[in-house]
Amino acid sequence: MKDNKVQITKNKSLSKVDEKFCELKNNKKLALMPFIMAGDPNIEITSEILLKLQENGADLIELGIPYSDPLADGPVIQVAASRALKSGTSPRKVIKLLESLKGRLNIPIILFSYLNPLLCFGFEKFCEIASNAGVSGLIVPDLPLEEAYKFSKIVSNHSMDLILLVAPTTPFERMKQISNHTKGFTYLVSVTGVTGERNKMENRVENLIAKLKDVNRNPIAVGFGISTPEHVNKVREWGADGVIIGSAFVKRISSSSKKDVVDYVGEFCKEMRLAADQKE
């Protein structure tokens, strides 16, 4: 990992996500952030998978709340969301699950949800119970920047971070605004398109990371399409601070039996941890 000009030290006003990235930066480690869908195949197994991911080297976990019309997702996560809805997963159940893991699940949990279920629940009310359940951040992929300011305030008032996304097609001025308003880290979408495994990382991601680094010192986590140790290596070489791996995990969950799923996903997490820690 490239050297950081200034070392950031722990500070009272830092959020849990900030602290995690500081700690990782100081140890020169790349943040490993698996994404899984809550309730896929059911909420009990999600609970076991979360603990296993923590045990096997995840630094943060992005936990999806299922939605009927996931516009930013490819087929793998779409199907996972349908399974999760079939198993009766709702925002409230996801929060209950996290409450039940308090004290055992200690790494930062970031909830990924489309806006409508949160609005329907009551955005502020949702932030309150999520925060009480120990959630550290929120990602809302269909929330445009223009609307994000007021929501970000609410999220921050509840001691969580609203993490904003930048895409390869985002114009530079807008990229700057997003980067200056995101909390915790900047989520760099590595492809023009939806979630799903890709064979190759687009080379322009390197340039995008450099551009974001010129704007400010936010940590940058790269997601969408990342699915192999080679991809993880590239992201580290290009100077990002974290990787988010979604469909590759979700596919493993859907393709294994309920009996084996926790271990199988755990093994994959270990493999990705090794890739993340590889030294140049």
Partner: protein, 292 residues
Amino acid sequence: MGKKRIIAETGAGQHGVATATVCARFGLKCIIYMGAEDIKRQSLNVFRMKLLGAEVKVVNSGTATLKDATSEAIRDWVSNVETTHYILGSVAGPHPFPKIVRDFHAVIGEETKKQCFEAFGSLPDILLACVGGGSNAMGLFHPFVKETSVRLIGVEAAGSGVDTDKHAATITKGSIGILHGSMSLLLQDDNGQVQEAHSISAGLDYPGVGPEHSHLKDIGRAEYGSVTDQEALDALRLVCELEGIIPALETSHAFAWLDKLCPTLEKDTHIVINCSGRGDKDVNTVASSLNI
């Protein structure tokens, strides 16, 4: 823009055929997303699109109707936005689509205004149109929104009835939500999951509605009603017999509203109905429902 690839979603296939037509005329690659359910019930339009050189992509996800075709088109668009232009078919979707589509469809209202002055020497009293996503209604209404003497009425699909779980009466029964990038009324459950819509007409079978309709309803400028599948079928038959016109099933919903509306009106009230489409595409559905 220099883009050579065009995508669109379609429910009844009308917008798909229109898009395929311009693409053929201007030599552009054309991909149309259409739900598997709609491909079955609107086979004539599927054939027309293919004949015009478009590729029709079958959408099997979700309810396999217009909502899911729109979602797939949006996914294609975000993936290929650098080379592809998305021609959205209704006044729905993310900004600025509702505005673009309204402004283009406003030719309907402009023409209506002109013809009304020619025919009656005045504005019409009532404008009537069916509402799926709401484009034909919005295009008709738009030049009249400030003419407050003109009543604007939109008619939604009540499917098997608005008190069943099989309808598409979004404005009548929906609550505020977000679908396809706009906030409007929406058919959704208690957890904010989008619900299935149901209508015999593919073009009205959509759980959302263009945001400007929700606004017109909110401020009391437009009124919205709904008619069932059966009422629409009855109206279709009547219009065929009385006028020699085979209206589309969507359009038949607007006609069916006359049954409820006319008894409340004074003699010589001028009503304009937007004949949004012809029923050739629907003859199979109608034949099996009417046992002709």
